[in-house]
């Protein structure tokens, strides 16, 4: 067999969340990625966020494209359906799945090659349509699975492992998501779990297109001096705009915030995002300001992380299409078929 199943043993003393699930219930198969790959840390953060939100694992649909990053849905939420589709086309598959059943939680996982190159169009259009999803790009600036070619997010002037200098301009997916009207835009770093977990949790709670770009160093092909997506580079150039906790309206999951420095954002579903502001002037509800902020710091070579923008009143594609509340995949012939009498009328109108 070319897969590795995780042993089923569960320690009876493992802590449980509100639904009685343990961490293990949110895990998947054993990762086959390189030991130390940033993507595995993101997997761990997704598991943590879902555990903390007490999501029923089987109510999540996890959809990806092709690449090392796109393999990761197999490594978390083993009891949910996953779909490793084709290169760059995760967004359309997710859109279709979401249209079929608006009641599930949609987690889209993609790579920077997947989303910024071959799938750039699909990334853009799923965002502009406002598909209710959490879209995570595991951004390492290279093609990992095909062994180290530059991706479209690689910075101009950065050096490949083979010593080649990138002469093309980089695409900043966060800037583009903001421009396209994403109603939740964040950037984080795979190594910064304390920031990433609440960001993922908030994105899942958000109703609308939530986009998180996670810098995720590829230790095999993009973790050398001269790379702008290496662990060391990101640690040195990280400028976090805020830290955030998610309050579900029940008990806060973490209480690690100082009074007086918190900005509370009401979400559509009634949950509240509490933003710990590091930059005193930062307003995460101002799209224009977010765009300017991002560009200013990019010009200084800084990677801005944190929740950059959120629209608490966002609507999703189902609202735009005004579809029924009942998931379309549960409608039956009696709900859908107009019947023979209606057809007779149609026939009569065609004579």
């Amino acid at each position: 067999m070319t897969y590795i199943a995780k042993p089923k043993f569960q320690h009876p003393g493992l802590p449980k969340n509100e639904l009685g699930y343990t961490h293990r219930d949110y895990e998947g198969k054993v990762s086959t990625l390189c030991a130390g790959c940033g993507h595995d840390s993101i997997t761990a953060s997704i598991i943590e966020a879902c555990y903390e939100l007490s999501i029923e694992p089987h109510r999540v649909a996890k959809i990806s494209g092709i690449g090392c990053s796109s393999k990761t849905p197999d490594y978390f939420l083993g009891n949910s359906h996953g779909f490793n589709s084709v290169h760059g086309r995760m967004p359309s598959v997710l859109t279709g799945a979401n249209l079929a059943n608006r009641d599930l939680i949609y987690l889209g996982v993609s790579g920077d090659g997947d989303s910024a190159s071959i799938g750039f169009g699909q990334f853009a259009h799923s965002i502009r349509r406002g598909v209710n999803m959490t879209y995570i790009v595991e951004n390492n600036g290279v093609y990992g699975l095909t062994k180290g070619q530059f991706s479209a997010t690689a910075d101009r002037g950065s050096k490949s492992k083979k010593g080649v200098i990138n002469t093309d301009n980089a695409i900043d997916l966060v800037a583009i998501a903001l421009q396209l009207g994403a109603s939740f835009v964040a950037r984080s770093f795979s190594g910064d779990k304390s920031q990433l977990v609440p960001l993922i949790a908030a994105a899942i709670r958000h109703k609308g297109a939530a986009f998180i770009d996670v810098i995720s160093p590829c230790i095999a092909f993009n973790n050398h001096a001269g790379s702008t997506k290496s662990f060391d580079y990101v640690r040195e150039h990280n400028d976090a705009v805020n830290r955030l906790d998610v309050l579900t309206g029940r008990d806060p999951i973490t209480v690690e915030y100082a009074p007086g420095t918190v900005q509370v954002v009401e979400q559509h579903d009634g949950t509240r995002l509490a933003l710990r502001k590091i930059d005193a002037d930062y307003d995460a509800n101002d799209r224009l300001a977010a765009m300017t902020f991002l560009q200013k710091h990019a010009a200084k070579g800084q990677v801005v992380t944190g929740l950059l923008y959120v629209d608490p009143d966002a609507e999703d594609l189902h609202a735009h299409l005004d579809t029924v509340e009942t998931p379309l995949n549960t409608l039956e012939a009696k709900d859908l078929c107009p019947g023979s009498a209606a057809l007779e009328k149609i026939n009569a109108s065609l004579r």
Partner: protein, 616 residues
């Protein structure tokens, strides 16, 4: 030449309107066709239009056919020549003894006319200019005025035309009365100034019966509504756009929740065909019935996803309204040219189910059925229409629906089934030996039945595996599944010649009406042919036996390379020599005359040259 006597025919002739695209003639011309239908006389109209919006030539042809021949006939008996650009070509296409109707406001030199036809001049521009001042009105009403004049010339009942105009402008009194006025202007001028009726006449009959008049694309879209499609994703391309547009308008009327007013469907105009088919596959994976409509170039773009649908076994429906290829080819001309491209679409070993409806009624039935088939077989189903059926109105039997019919969602395991003691769920397990496994919808059960869908090789339990034996086992099961499909898809229809014969003919799709008529023409020439209309791929076993039962079989199709013939040879291991290709591929619909001539000449040749049994 002038001794040629004018054609004289009641309820059996071809009128062709030559117009300039964008002149608003389409609705007047369609009104003409419908008026004849209201006389109880069958018609078969065809749009012949350029891949351009404004200014280029466009033609609309109405075959008036008491006998009910719905294929194109070829030749023109009455040319309504409204386009100076195409004048010479239009005049040349009139049959000897035919008629030319033109705008005589500006005198024409006699060299512009033929001597063996009857020329009818009506000063249309002069009449319109003296009645209307607004330029747009002048243009639009000129069309209604020539319709009025034709009414007189063909002896049509003006009341029936007025009635149609009344239905069209119901509630819009001003438009109604002005159109009726224009109709009378033309008719009165003709009655006062021309010799009427001409040799071509429309006489009331009762040959239309219960039949309806509908475009194939609209019927297919209605089939999708009845078949339970809830998600449609598409990208505009001629000649398929009207499928999605019709689905939208049918859904608006038929699919809103009466209490909340909300939509029981979702339609997305994708950013391209890749997204459209991706949305369809995502929706189908998640248990909704979904489809897209496209044409050749769209199919080319979709092929990677089509392979995924095949290998990962995700149901989906593609309506392919074929047009002339390759590449952009002739985007507004008809062909049956995507047979091979669809049958084997995508890389690797793949095979897909194709359905070939012959007319709108069958397009409706097959469209509805395609969703059951996709679910039952968990694979892609191609509904293969073409421009000739898709974008032209056809007279066909009324659409029918059995209210007792339930949707067959195929093998879907529910939470209750997963909980049954001893139940083993493996996504790709062949439980019943028919090659079709069970699937579960996402979100079915907290701990059972989830699986990971991928285009990569995996074992029967959907676990990633690149072991050769496991891969081969899966590929073999897919072959078994395709064999199972043979008995699920619509069977071929066979009709025997009046007398026993050694020759057969195979055809499919929009060739049907021309073939029906060609059989009669061939009989008149003394040739008897058994015939088989293929309605689906994979081919039913009766196709091979039909071929075995005849010395040889003609395969009539509308493409250059004999694609259906290739598929039959390839799939059934048949000696190609036994299948004689009859090919029509200039972008016009195939005609009975063409088929009868091609087969007739071949048959005549056989009579003088004995067929050598084995031709190398």
């Amino acid at each position: 030449m002038s001794v040629q006597s004018p054609i004289s025919s009641v309820n059996d002739f071809v009128v062709r309107f030559a117009n300039v695209n964008g002149s608003g003639s389409a609705s007047a011309n369609e009104l003409f066709a419908r008026s004849i239908l209201r006389h109880g006389v069958p018609v078969s109209p065809r749009n012949i239009f350029p891949s351009n919006i404004q200014g280029l030539p466009t033609w609309y042809e109405v075959r008036v056919t008491e006998a009910g021949h719905l294929g194109a006939r070829g030749g023109v008996d009455l040319m309504v020549a409204m386009n100076p650009q195409t004048w010479d070509k239009d005049v040349a296409s009139i049959e000897p003894g035919g008629y030319l109707f033109y705008d005589s406001t500006k005198p024409m030199p006699s060299s512009k006319f033929r001597t063996d036809i009857t020329v009818i001049g009506v000063p249309l521009t002069a009449i319109t200019n003296s009645t209307y001042t607004d330029p747009r009105q002048r243009q639009l009403f000129k069309n209604i005025i020539y319709l009025g004049a034709l009414c007189a010339l063909l002896d049509m009942d003006p009341k029936l035309v007025e009635q149609l105009i009344g239905e069209q402008y119901k509630g819009k009194e001003k438009l109604l009365s002005s159109n009726v006025h224009a109709l009378h202007l033309g008719r009165d001028w003709a009655l006062q100034n021309l010799k009427y009726p001409i040799g071509l006449r429309v006489k009331k009959s009762d040959k239309v019966g219960e039949r309806i008049f509908i475009e194939g694309n609209s019927a297919a879209a209605l089939g999708a509504v009845y078949g339970g499609a809830t998600v449609c994703a598409w990208y505009p391309i001629t000649p398929s756009s009207s499928v999605a547009e019709a689905f939208t308008s049918h859904c608006k009327k038929l699919r809103h929740d009466p209490e909340t007013g909300k939509a029981k469907y979702a339609i997305v105009q994708g950013e391209d065909e890749l997204a459209s088919i991706g949305i369809v596959i995502g929706a189908s994976w998640n248990g909704a019935r979904a489809f897209t409509a496209t044409s050749g170039p769209g199919i080319s773009l979709m092929t990677e996803f089509i392979g995924l649908s095949y290998f990962a076994e995700i149901p989906a429906v593609i309506m392919n309204i074929q047009r002339a290829g390759p590449s952009t080819g002739m985007p507004t001309r008809t062909q049956q040219c995507d047979i091979i491209a669809c049958a084997y679409a995508s890389h690797g070993d793949t095979k897909h189910v194709l359905l070939f409806p012959e007319d709108p009624a069958e397009a409706f039935e097959f469209a509805a059925q395609s969703f059951d088939l996709a679910d039952r077989l968990q694979t892609m189903i191609f509904l293969m229409l073409d421009l000739d059926i898709g974008m032209n109105h056809r007279l066909c039997r009324p659409l029918k629906w059995d209210d007792a019919r339930q949707y067959d969602r195929g093998k879907v395991m529910t939470a209750e089934m997963l909980d049954e003691p001893g139940r083993d769920f493996g996504r790709y397990l062949d439980v019943d030996g028919d090659g079709i496994p069970y699937r579960t919808y996402p979100g079915t059960h907290p701990t059972k039945g989830s699986f990971f869908t991928r285009g990569t090789s995996r074992d029967r339990y959907a676990r990633y595996s690149e072991e050769g034996a496991i891969y081969a086992d899966n590929m073999q099961r897919l072959v078994r599944k395709f064999e199972t499909a043979q008995d699920m898809v619509p069977r071929p229809l066979q009709a025997n010649a009046a007398k026993p014969t050694k020759y057969g003919v195979i055809y499919f799709g929009s060739t049907s009406p021309a073939m029906d008529e060609a059989i009669g023409l061939l009989e008149a020439r003394g040739h008897q042919l058994d015939r088989m209309r293929i309605r689906a791929f994979p081919f039913h076993s009766s196709v091979a036996s039909f071929i075995a039962d005849h010395d040889f079989v003609y395969v009539v199709e509308q493409n250059r390379d004999g694609q259906l013939r290739q598929l039959i040879v390839n799939e059934n291991g048949i000696d190609p020599v036994r299948l004689v290709p009859i090919l029509h591929y200039d972008g016009t619909p195939i005609t009975a005359r063409f088929i009868a001539n091609a087969i007739g000449d071949h048959q005549d040749h056989l009579k003088v040259t004995p067929l050598r049994k084995a031709v190398s």
